[in-house]
């Protein structure tokens, strides 16, 4: 410790007295009695005097040293601190006090040097002990500093005057001052006036001996910190307070964390969802109120218990899967499942699981939240039931409306109804026409029915009568509770507890009843009832439809019988007609044959006796007989066309025309003819009948061109509106189109028979055949300018 220019006035005075004493050469008694070593030097550094204490310390005799040069006697002292200080004191004539280690003495000494005009007086004493104590103190101070500096808090010590005596490094960090800048300063100077004013009452309390703790916001050079301060007064035995140890902790961060934790805790605690944590072995480690609400266990009851308590036995696998996922660092999110409550009932929950990790990222547990979704499931279930019901109603609707067989309607209806509404029995009841009896027409029951289907029972006094009268549904939530019907006892014996009856109404008349019954009381909800009302309406309509259908069926059957009878009659008359034409063909020809035959025999055997006019008459008889034979043949052919079945096949029309022309070759002899056969397509037709058509048309063409010098006949074909139209064209006699409508009539002739012979059946036959094929035939002609007969084989209406 270097105390240059230390001059307290009282000490100065003391030393002056010494000097006076020395200078006056008075007795040295006084100097011998002081505890310090003393010596005096003249201006040449020679000893003038030294006291006994100095003799002791140095181990030298006063007599040996007086008059001797100090630096000669103590050469080791040259250039030491003491050497320099003493020279300074002498030269500058200033009092110097210093501490130095004397190697000669092997000890710390405190030296005071007072200059005199003629030399120096020097006091010194051994301070080794004090120095050691000081060092020890220093060491402990340093250690204290070291320890307190390492703490993340402010630590200080201030005295009664509120001056800092000690601060740790924290003050440097907080306020920017070094410890030695703070030491000795008033608190307010360091922490600021504002903070000081805030803290002052607490500081004062501490100075009054109280231990004080408080938190407040402390401004510092970069803002404010939330601090927690403890003031510990240092109290002496007599109760006086000498100082206060202050410990100031920055709790800004901690406070923030605390608040966040508190918020989280509040969230967890107030959550309606179960928030559970469990160890990897499935042991429950935390449990919030939400969990208690959902599962019924309190935290105390369940913590440290296995999670499997909550899991239904058939779902234990689920938890294993979850654990595997968690182990794979996956999250299970919103998994809908079922859990067990404390009371053993089940609860639908949606669970979300995520891993809990320690600071190293190791998974140490599982956090699990579970939401009670029973309500949601219930509404989902309700929705599903609703949808199922809707589709069942639709099915019922279809079943009812798509079927006209009443038996099937009932069967399907009863089957579908079971799927729609939980029931133990359902029946469709029918009333008789007079509505005084009823019977079950269809019944489905889980148990032995009390009333058998088909059995007629009296309506009188029964609930059926009530329904017939009131025409509204009748519901009994508890059979026999309010009303006692004739059937009540029967139902009770059967075990029926509740029932619902719905009238089946057609045109405001109850025609039957739909009943549903259950062995449970109040089994049918309003919902059920409204569905059943709808169904009952449908059923009524279906019954009506089916009834109408049955009637229609009955009519249809009658109609069919009529038709069959008529057909039989028609067939009989057809048979008669056939027999008639058979007779015609057989019996009418025989007399003609006789007429012709005997005329011929007459002409042959009696030619000589027959006069010439008689011979002509005989020839006329023969001609007419033969003519009539032809007529009969044509007529039979024509009538046969109606009965002959049509045998359609592909016909090559070109070769058919050629063949017919060959058959008709006799009619072409000795004639000038040009016959053109076009590129006629094949067709679908009855070959024999079509040949008849071609024959008739070509033979007509040949016949009516007989008078032409040059006959021209064409068998052609053209396509009109996608229709194959065949035609036979000639340049013959033709006819007046005014009579075209008569052309195809039986026995209709447009030419005199002496011009062109014929029966007038040929074109009627053609038309008959063409119509049977579904085709049309028509003609274009001009008198003396030829005729064209067109025909198609399809496209018209088949005239079978």
């Amino acid at each position: 410790m270097n105390n240059d220019d230390h001059d307290s006035s009282s000490q100065q005075e003391g030393r002056l007295i010494d000097q006076i004493l020395i200078s006056s050469n008075q007795s040295f008694e006084l100097l011998e009695s002081i505890s310090e070593a003393f010596y005096g030097l003249d201006g040449d550094w020679r000893f003038i005097y030294l006291n006994h204490k100095a003799e002791q310390l140095w181990g030298r005799k006063r007599e040996d040293l007086i008059g001797k040069h100090i630096w000669s006697e103590f050469p080791q002292g040259v250039d030491t601190q003491a050497f320099k200080e003493m020279h300074r004191a002498l030269h500058e004539q200033k009092t110097v006090r210093f501490e130095s280690f004397s190697s000669f003495l092997g000890a710390w000494v405190e030296v005071e040097v007072y200059p005199m005009r003629t030399g120096l007086s020097v006091y010194f004493h051994d301070i080794s002990q004090r120095k050691r104590a000081e060092e020890a103190l220093n060491d402990s101070h340093n250690r204290l500093q070291l320890i307190t500096d390492s703490l993340p808090i402010l630590i200080s010590y201030f005295d009664r005057e509120m001056h800092y005596q000690f601060v740790n490094k924290g003050y440097k960090e907080w306020f920017g001052y070094n410890a030695d800048q703070v030491t000795g300063k008033h608190i307010a100077e360091i922490i600021g006036q504002t903070a000081f004013e805030t803290a002052k009452p607490d500081i004062e309390n501490a100075l009054n001996g109280q231990v004080v703790r408080y938190e407040h916001e402390m401004p510092y050079d970069k803002g404010t910190r939330l601090t927690r301060t403890q003031l510990l007064p240092q109290v002496l035995e007599d109760g006086t307070v000498v100082g206060v140890i202050a410990m100031v902790e920055d709790i800004t961060e901690q406070k923030r964390i605390d608040e966040r934790l508190a918020r989280l805790a509040a969230i967890v605690s107030s959550s309606n969802d179960a928030i559970i944590s469990e160890a990897l072995d499935g042991t429950i480690t935390s449990w919030n109120d939400g969990a208690e609400q959902i599962y019924g266990y309190s935290a105390d009851e369940i913590i440290q218990k296995p999670i499997s308590l909550l899991i239904p036995s058939d779902r234990l696998d689920e938890e294993k899967r979850f654990l595997q996922k968690i182990a794979a660092n996956e999250i299970v999110k919103n998994y809908d499942t079922i859990r067990l409550k404390k009371d053993g009932t089940k609860v639908f929950v949606s669970v979300t699981l995520s891993p809990i990790k320690d600071e190293q990222g190791n998974i140490v547990g599982i956090s699990k939240t579970a939401q009670d979704i029973t309500e949601r499931k219930r509404s989902e279930g309700a929705l599903q039931r609703y949808a199922e019901r809707l589709s069942a109603i639709n099915r019922l609707d279809r079943v009812i409306s798509s079927n006209l067989d009443l038996g099937q309607v009932y069967d399907n209806f009863v089957k579908e109804l079971q799927g729609l509404i939980q029931l133990d029995r359902t029946a469709i009841v029918r009333l008789n026409e007079t509505k005084d009896q009823w019977q079950i027409i269809r019944q489905w029951t889980q148990h032995k029915p009390a009333i058998q289907p088909g059995e007629w029972r009296s309506v009188n006094g029964s609930v059926i009568e009530w329904l017939v009268t009131n025409r509204i549904p009748y519901s009994e939530a508890e059979v026999g509770a309010d009303e006692n019907w004739p059937e009540t006892a029967i139902l009770q014996r059967e075990g029926i507890r509740s029932r619902l009856l719905l009238p089946l109404i057609i045109s405001e008349q109850v025609i039957g009843v739909l009943t549903v019954a259950s062995r449970l009381p109040s089994a049918f909800s309003e919902d059920d009832q409204s569905i059943l009302v709808t169904i009952a309406d449908q059923l009524s309509i279906a019954i009506q439809n089916a009834t109408l259908y049955e009637k229609a069926q009955l009519h249809a059957t009658e109609l069919e019988q009529h038709v069959a009878e008529r057909t039989a009659k028609l067939e009989a008359s057809n048979k008669e007609l056939e027999a008639f034409s058979y007779s015609v063909s057989h019996d009418l020809r025989a007399p003609l044959r006789a007429l012709d035959g005997f005329s011929k025999i007459l002409l042959r055997d009696y030619a000589a006796q027959i006069p010439e006019p008689a011979e002509r008459y005989l020839h006329l008889i023969r001609d007419n007989s033969q003519q009539m034979g032809t007529l009969i043949d044509d007529l039979l052919t024509f009538s046969r066309l109606n009965r002959q079945p049509l045998n359609k096949q592909t016909v090559n029309v070109v070769s058919m025309v050629n063949q017919v022309l060959e058959d008709l070759s006799g009619e072409q002899e000795n004639r000038k003819l040009e016959i053109i056969i076009g590129d006629l397509p094949t067709c679908q037709a009855d070959a024999a009948l079509l040949k008849q058509v071609v024959t008739n048309l070509l033979s007509n063409a040949l016949k009516f061109t007989r008078l032409c010098d040059m006959a021209y006949i064409e068998a052609g074909y053209q396509q009109i509106n996608d229709e194959n139209v065949y035609y036979i064209k000639d340049n013959g006699a033709g006819f007046d189109m005014a009579y075209a409508d008569k052309l195809f009539g039986v026995f209709q002739r447009l030419h005199r028979s002496d011009e062109f012979p014929g029966t007038g059946v040929g074109l009627a036959i053609v038309q008959r055949i063409i119509r049977r094929h579904g085709g049309r035939v028509w003609a274009k002609a001009e008198v003396n300018n030829g005729a064209t007969l067109y025909f198609t084989l399809e496209g018209g209406s088949a005239d079978e």
Binding site: R593, D596, Q644
Partner: protein
């Protein structure tokens, strides 16, 4: 009736047709050994030597000209009886009819008729048909002995 037996059995109920047929056959020099019967029953009696023909020597005719439409038993029935008899079934039968019905023709052939001719109104055609039948079945056709 000659001991050589009947050559042609004509089954015909219409006397006109009988006369015309005989005329035609006569023209063809076939008339001398003709037996005419007037209905189906008589035809069967003659063929099977029963009834009024029980005493007839049992020599079957060489040709039967059979009308289809006959009183009592019709031509098809007669034909059926002939064809179902072991001894008679080889006799040539020519169905002669004024019917042009297809069904009659088919039925006749189904029952094994040898020829089927429609009696034309024209006597010359009729004569020609008879001539051809006689010529073919009596002169050309050889039947197995017994």
């Amino acid at each position: 009736m000659s001991s050589n037996g009947v050559e042609i059995l004509l089954v015909e109920d219409n006397p006109n047709d009988v006369e015309l047929a005989l005329d035609a056959l006569r023209e063809q020099k076939l008339a001398n050994r003709i037996q005419v019967v007037r209905d189906g029953a008589e035809a069967l009696d003659f063929i099977f030597c029963s009834g009024q023909y029980a005493e007839r020597p049992n020599i079957p005719p060489k040709l039967i000209l059979l009308d289809l439409k006959l009183p009592k038993v019709n031509g098809l029935e007669v034909l059926q009886r002939i064809r179902s008899d072991a001894n008679m079934k080889i006799i040539p039968v020519v169905m002669m009819t004024s019917s042009q019905e297809e069904s009659d023709l088919i039925n006749s052939y189904n029952l094994g008729v040898n020829s089927y001719i429609v009696k034309p109104v024209d006597f010359e055609q009729f004569t020609e048909a008879v001539r051809e039948i006689g010529f073919y079945w009596l002169l050309l056709n050889k039947l197995p002995k017994n």
